[in-house]
Each structure stands twice: as structure tokens, then as C-alpha cells.
């Protein structure tokens, strides 16, 4: 862009490299999250996700399930089984029976334990443990070092969607987001048309007020609204935490930007088109429905994407205006809760996080064009 003379210089090479580096920096975090979320949870917790494709050496432990299936063979009690819970290509390298010496024996050799017991673990995981007396009490722990091949699975997703309640939260998020996107668009479109093309007292003041409200921090509103909601909820007998309540809150908080963007756009439509419709006999409502709405489609689309992303990704308003229960917890709220309760379980966190971000990412990738257009009309002049 600066000058075409530069195009072939070594500088261009540097630019390519730098941009490549930055792109990697910006994408790696998300990629890591995604890769981790589809790894086996045992592998995930012991090796970095960048090793996901190489076999990993894991130190594992299993407890031999006691003791009902023990059998009598040649005068000794025997239990047979396999250390691996899942069949696979894993192979045992070493094993041991004490946590102090987990790698004491090579696979396939016989370990002599206390009280005449023996343990053999084969490379494929099969083990045989024998004892002169009947097994009882808690089962014997077997420590083993295994070479585990990379394993990818959707189990993490299955788990979070069902037992961690993310499925329900997903629906809750949709329930919050869809109306909280459509309602402000409707309201803002009407208001923007009035502010752009109708004559009434106080119009200029209102336009300035909208610009001012654009930057009023949400924090300002929370406490007074929480108090009002409590009063209103008590009065109506519905409680303060309702979907209607959060829709309206999101609507109002989205309105300044919506009105601002749409007013700018609608005010830019040619005046003669609107007058022409007026001469053609259209009422203001007809004009709005049949002329303004279709013509404002790009602006409407870009605002709805904004609002969708913003509502879906919101945590603050959901925490204040919705309950903390199964019925109302949205994805972001759920993720925060998991962050507290399952802080170390990365298989849960990564899968949950990916579920929360997948919808906005798809929206974003699919509709980027509109989003960019909206951003530009909102801030470049």
C-alpha cells in the first residue's frame, strides 16, 4: 500500500513472517482449547495439548476389583483382568504394586508380593494376581507405566452436556438471547425512524441523549434496577428473576447503540424516496414497514449480530437479573460456576468453554461481513 516499489523487497518477507507470527499468537489459544476438549481426559491432565498427536507415557494406577470374581486354580485364589479400562493400543511398560516403586517390574515379569501373593502384568494389560488365601477387603492397587496412543473422544462433551447441565444452560441461553435480540431491534428501528424523519418537539435533545447514553456504564444501573426488580417482582408475585426481566434489561442496555446505528443509517436514506411514498399515499406506518425496514436491512443485520453476541456472551446481567438455579443458569454463568467447582478438571472446562463459544463463533464467521459494516458505520466518519 505504501509504495509498490517495496513489494518485492526483503521487508515484505518480514511482514509475512510477522503477520504469520501474530496470527498464530491469536489463534493458538482457541485452538488449544478445542484440541484439549476432544482429548481423553486422562491424557489431557498429564500432557500438553500440543503433544496430542504423539503417544504419551503415562503413569497410571488401577485398583483390582475385589473379590467376587476370584476363582480357585491349582490351590490358589486367582483374579484375572486387564488394567486398561478401554480397549486400545496402549501397552504397559513397567508395573509395580507400591506407590513407592511404581516402576519396579518390567511388563510380563512376575512380581512377588507380601504374604505369598504374586502379580503379573502383561504388555497388553492383562494381569493375573494370585494369593494363597482368599482376597478380601479393599482391592490391590496396581501401578503401571503405559505407552498410551493419542486418543480423541467426544466423551467430554457428552459429559458436560448431560451431567454438568450445559445442555439445559444452552437452551436457557437461547431463551435469553433470541428475544433479547429481536425486541431491541424492533424498538430501536421504530425509534430511529422517528428520530430521523418525524417532526416532534425535543427531537434534537433526544438524539444527543442517545449519544450520551451510549457510554453510560452498566454498573450505574445495577443496584437501582435490582432494587426495583425486587419491588416489582414482589408486587406481581413473580419474583425478581424472570426471563421477561432480563429481556427488557438487555433490550434497554442495547438500545442506545441500536438507535444510534439505525438512526444514522435511516437518516442517510434519500429523503425523496420517503416523500415519494408519502405522495403515493403510504401512511407513516406503511412507509416504515414497506420502505424503511427493507432498505435498512444491512444496518438491522449488523446490529442484530452485535446484540446477539453481546447478549450471548454476557455474564454480568445474567448474574444480576437471572437466578442461579438449573432453570435459569445461562452458559456463561454455568461456565463461571464450573470454573469455581471444577477448577482443575480441564476436560470439563475446555469442553464447556467450547460449547459456550461455538455459537458466537459460527455467527461471527458466517456473518462477519455485516458485523464489519456495522462497526464501520458506527465509528468511522
Amino acid at each position: 500500500m505504501v509504495s509498490s516499489a517495496n513489494t518485492r523487497s526483503p521487508l515484505t518477507f518480514v511482514v509475512h513472517l510477522t503477520v504469520l507470527f501474530l496470527v498464530v499468537m491469536w489463534t493458538i489459544p482457541t485452538a488449544g482449547l478445542f484440541i484439549s476438549s476432544i482429548r481423553d481426559k486422562d491424557q489431557l491432565s498429564v500432557s500438553g495439548w500440543w503433544t496430542a498427536l504423539s503417544a504419551s507415557e503415562q503413569r497410571l494406577v488401577t485398583r483390582i476389583e475385589i473379590p467376587k470374581d476370584q476363582t480357585m486354580e491349582n490351590g490358589v485364589y486367582v483374579i484375572r483382568g486387564n488394567v486398561f479400562t478401554q480397549a486400545g493400543d496402549s501397552s504397559v511398560q513397567q508395573f509395580g504394586y507400591s506407590s513407592l516403586k511404581p516402576q519396579a517390574f518390567e511388563a510380563g515379569t512376575k512380581a512377588q508380593m507380601k504374604r505369598g501373593k504374586t502379580l503379573i502384568v502383561q504388555a497388553n494389560g492383562d494381569y493375573v494376581i494370585t494369593s494363597p488365601k482368599a482376597f478380601k477387603g479393599r482391592g490391590q492397587r496396581v501401578f503401571y507405566t503405559a505407552e498410551v496412543p493419542p486418543r480423541f473422544t467426544l466423551d467430554n462433551y457428552r459429559e458436560v452436556l448431560t451431567s454438568e447441565g450445559l445442555g439445559k444452560s444452552f437452551i436457557n441461553s437461547l431463551t435469553v438471547t433470541i428475544p433479547a435480540t429481536i425486541i431491541p431491534i424492533l424498538m430501536a428501528a421504530f425509534a430511529a425512524y422517528a428520530l430521523a424523519w418525524m417532526k416532534f418537539p425535543g427531537r434534537a435533545l433526544m438524539v444527543a441523549a442517545v449519544v450520551g447514553l451510549l457510554v453510560v456504564p452498566l454498573q450505574m444501573s445495577l443496584i437501582p434496577l435490582l432494587r426495583s426488580y425486587n419491588v416489582i417482582g414482589e408486587f406481581l408475585g413473580t419474583g425478581s428473576k424472570t426471563y421477561v426481566g432480563i429481556w427488557l434489561a438487555h433490550t434497554a442496555f442495547g438500545l442506545p447503540l441500536a438507535i444510534y446505528l439505525l438512526r444514522n443509517y435511516i437518516a442517510g436514506l434519500p429523503r425523496e424516496i420517503i416523500e415519494s411514498a408519502r405522495v403515493d399515499g403510504a401512511s407513516e406506518f406503511d412507509i416504515f414497514r414497506k420502505i424503511i425496514l427493507p432498505l435498512s436491512f444491512p444496518a438491522l443485520a449488523s446490529f442484530s449480530i452485535f446484540q446477539f453476541l453481546w447478549v450471548w456472551n454476557d455474564l454480568l446481567i445474567a448474574m444480576v437479573f437471572l437466578g442461579n438455579n438449573e432453570e435459569q443458569l445461562v452458559l456463561t454463568g454455568r461456565l463461571r460456576e464450573l470454573l469455581g467447582s471444577r477448577g482443575g478438571n480441564w476436560e470439563i472446562l475446555t469442553a464447556s468453554a467450547f460449547i459456550t463459544i461455538i455459537v458466537p463463533l459460527c455467527v461471527f464467521i458466517g456473518l462477519q461481513r455485516f458485523l464489519v459494516r456495522g462497526l464501520l458505520s458506527g465509528s468511522v466518519k
Binding site: P270, E272, I273, E275, S276, A277, R278, V279, D280, G281, A282, D286, K290, I291, P294, L295
Partner: protein, 366 residues
């Protein structure tokens, strides 16, 4: 029946500037009226007040005897064609033309009949399914006209409909509008332009506006031959009429005056004897000036050629008569070999001369 009557119509915008003052105008059914005037004189404002898009601040507007000041545009029986076409970009040509009838809940067959009839008239039939963006400028303007026709209005309003078109198309579309008028002799048309050729060619009557006032209303040639005042005289005709300061030296019989350049001219205009000695303005159109052929011709203009413009069919001479005076323009037929610095003497027929008083009004019309 679609007579229009404007009585003392005023327009005051929000900023308290009075942009139209006491407009009085009668328009008969079937007339083609053209509003002309310099930019900002209020042509559009007047047209938009007639259409109802702009409110009327004072006076009355009657259509067919009904005062319609407060009636919305759609019910005034008017249709308007805008400079920028104002087509609905998201509707096809067909829907654009059908829109007003759909709003009025006319039944489908009737709409279809009207739209096809108008499309046929304007050779738009093959474009009916297109969106406006897929049409050329001329086609768009025809759609805009078609949209007006479909409504079967009593009055057509055009606001500079041709000024977005290129020169060739403008001529063609101008003829189409003339044809349109021909084919609908009973509808009234009001047409705004600042192009005097359009005004002269299309109008039955021209309304010449300046700064919120009507300067003159009349047939095109009437305005040309008999301008009411200096403003009209200079506005109509190109190049503009030459105006030279003079003093009336004799008001018996034909008027006789002495130009500031010292030349004495006489013209067949009756004056009061009291006018003798008054300052006046003498006017002569460039195309009425000719080179003096003999000693007998009265010299009206004499001086050095300042520069020459050869147009082919005519030659424009800019003549400097006096230090500090405006250059006098003469439009002489044919190609003539003059060059800078040449001395010329020009004359004109007395009946082609104009005389205005100091306030600028034409003595012939006083």
C-alpha cells in the same frame, strides 16, 4: 377539472426566513406550467407546497375550488417526479409503479392493467421485472414518470426531472415529456427547472421566480420579447440582454435617450413628458445587434473588440465601450473575422430595443 389557484401563499421555514412571499397564481386545467428561476429562488419550495410535502405558512392553495392547505399529498390528486427519481430500490419496476395503487387497495387486475398501460406508453414493458439498479438513468426517469401516470393524477409535478441525465438523453426525455403532455391534454403539469431551454420548449406559460417572488408569468415568447423587468430580461435569453445606463432626453412622441457612452437612440415607446431627464436603463439583446452597414444606421454601440468567441453558426463579440463599463455582447450570424482590438460599430432595430426605468421595470408594460 383541475384548476389550481394560489392566493397570497407564503412560506416561512423553521429558521424564520421567509422564502416565499405572497405568491398569487392561477393555473388552468391542461396547462403546462414551468417554474424557472436561479438556484435557491424557491422553485422547489413552491412545488412542494403544492404537492403537500411542505406545509403552507400563509395564504391558500385551491385545487378545483377546494382549499387543500391541510390535505395530505396523497389526497390532492397530484403525482410527483423527483430529480433523483426516488425509485424504491428494493422493488421491481412493476412494484414501483404498482405501489400507490396497492396502498389504495385497488384490486389486482386493475393494478395490472394500469401498470401495463403506463409501461407500454413509456416502452418499459420489457423491464418490468428489473430492479431500479439494473436500469440506465433515462430508464429510471421513465419509471418515475410511469409511477406518476399510473396514479392518474389531476396534476403532475416535476422537480428538475432531467438534471441528472446527460445532454443527449436530456433532449430525448424532454421530447418524451412533451409527447406525454400531448397524449394527456386534460392533465395539468407543473414543471420546475433552471434550464431556460427546457422552460421555453415545454411551457404553455412560464412562471419566473426570483428570491421568493414571482417576477413574471407569461408565454415563453412573451417573456422573451416583452420582459417585465431587467431581471426577466437578463434571465431569459442567452447570452443575456445587454443593459446600459442612459438618460431620457426627450419624451415627446418616440422616446429618445442618451446613453452614457454619448450615443443617441430613439425607439417607439410612449413616455410621459414628466419622464424627461430621468435616468433609465437601455436594453438590447446580443442577437438583435448588427454591424453598421452605412452612415445612415444609428450607432448604438461603438468600441474595441475585447475578445471573440467563434461558435460556428454565430460569432460572439465582446465589445468594450467605455473604461469601467460592462462589456457589450453581440451575437452576429456566421463566422466573422474579427480580432482583439478591432473597432466596431453596432446598431439595432428600434422595435427590438427595450427601455427600463431606474427601478428596472419595462416602460412598454407600464
Amino acid at each position: 377539472m383541475a384548476d389550481l389557484k394560489l392566493t397570497n401563499v407564503k412560506k416561512i421555514y423553521d429558521n424564520n426566513v421567509e422564502v416565499m412571499r405572497d405568491i398569487n397564481l392561477d393555473i388552468k386545467q391542461g396547462e403546462f406550467i414551468v417554474f424557472v428561476g436561479p438556484s435557491g429562488c424557491g422553485k422547489s419550495t413552491l412545488l412542494r407546497m403544492i404537492s403537500g410535502l411542505e406545509s403552507i405558512s400563509g395564504g391558500t392553495l385551491e385545487i378545483d375550488g377546494d382549499v387543500v392547505n391541510d390535505i395530505p399529498p396523497a389526497l390532492r390528486g397530484i403525482a410527483m417526479v423527483f430529480q433523483s427519481y426516488a425509485l424504491y430500490p428494493h422493488m421491481t419496476v412493476y412494484d414501483n409503479m404498482a405501489f400507490s395503487l396497492q396502498i389504495a387497495k385497488v384490486n389486482k387486475e386493475e393494478i395490472d392493467k394500469q401498470v401495463r398501460k403506463a409501461a407500454d406508453m413509456l416502452q418499459l414493458t420489457s423491464y418490468l421485472d428489473r430492479l431500479p439498479k439494473a436500469l440506465s438513468g433515462g430508464q429510471r426517469q421513465r419509471v418515475a414518470i410511469g409511477r406518476a401516470i399510473v396514479r392518474q393524477p389531476k396534476v403532475f409535478l416535476f422537480d428538475e426531472p432531467l438534471s441528472n441525465l446527460d445532454a443527449a438523453l436530456r433532449v430525448a426525455t424532454r421530447m418524451e415529456i412533451a409527447n406525454l403532455k400531448e397524449s394527456m391534454p386534460e392533465s395539468t403539469m407543473i414543471y420546475v427547472t433552471h434550464d431556460q431551454v427546457e422552460a421555453m420548449t415545454l411551457a404553455d406559460r412560464i412562471v419566473l421566480l426570483s428570491a421568493g417572488n414571482i417576477e413574471q408569468v407569461g408565454a415563453p415568447l412573451d417573456l422573451y420579447e416583452n420582459p417585465a423587468n431587467v431581471f426577466v430580461a437578463k434571465f431569459i435569453g442567452s447570452p443575456a440582454m445587454n443593459i446600459m445606463p442612459a438618460t431620457i432626453t426627450n419624451s415627446e412622441n418616440d422616446a429618445e435617450l442618451t446613453l452614457n457612452t454619448g450615443h443617441l437612440v430613439q425607439m417607439p415607446i410612449r413616455l410621459n413628458s414628466s419622464e424627461k431627464g430621468l435616468l433609465a436603463q437601455f436594453g438590447v439583446r446580443p442577437e438583435d445587434l448588427t454591424v453598421c452597414q452605412s452612415e445612415a444606421d444609428t450607432v448604438v454601440v461603438e468600441g474595441d473588440v475585447s475578445f471573440v468567441e467563434s461558435l460556428g453558426e454565430a460569432t460572439l463579440l465582446y465589445v468594450k465601450t467605455q473604461e469601467g463599463a460592462e462589456l457589450v455582447v453581440a451575437k452576429l450570424a456566421g463566422t466573422l473575422q474579427y480580432k482583439r482590438g478591432d473597432k466596431v460599430s453596432l446598431t439595432a432595430k428600434p422595435e427590438k430595443m427595450h427601455l427600463f426605468n431606474a427601478a428596472g421595470d419595462n416602460y412598454r408594460r407600464l
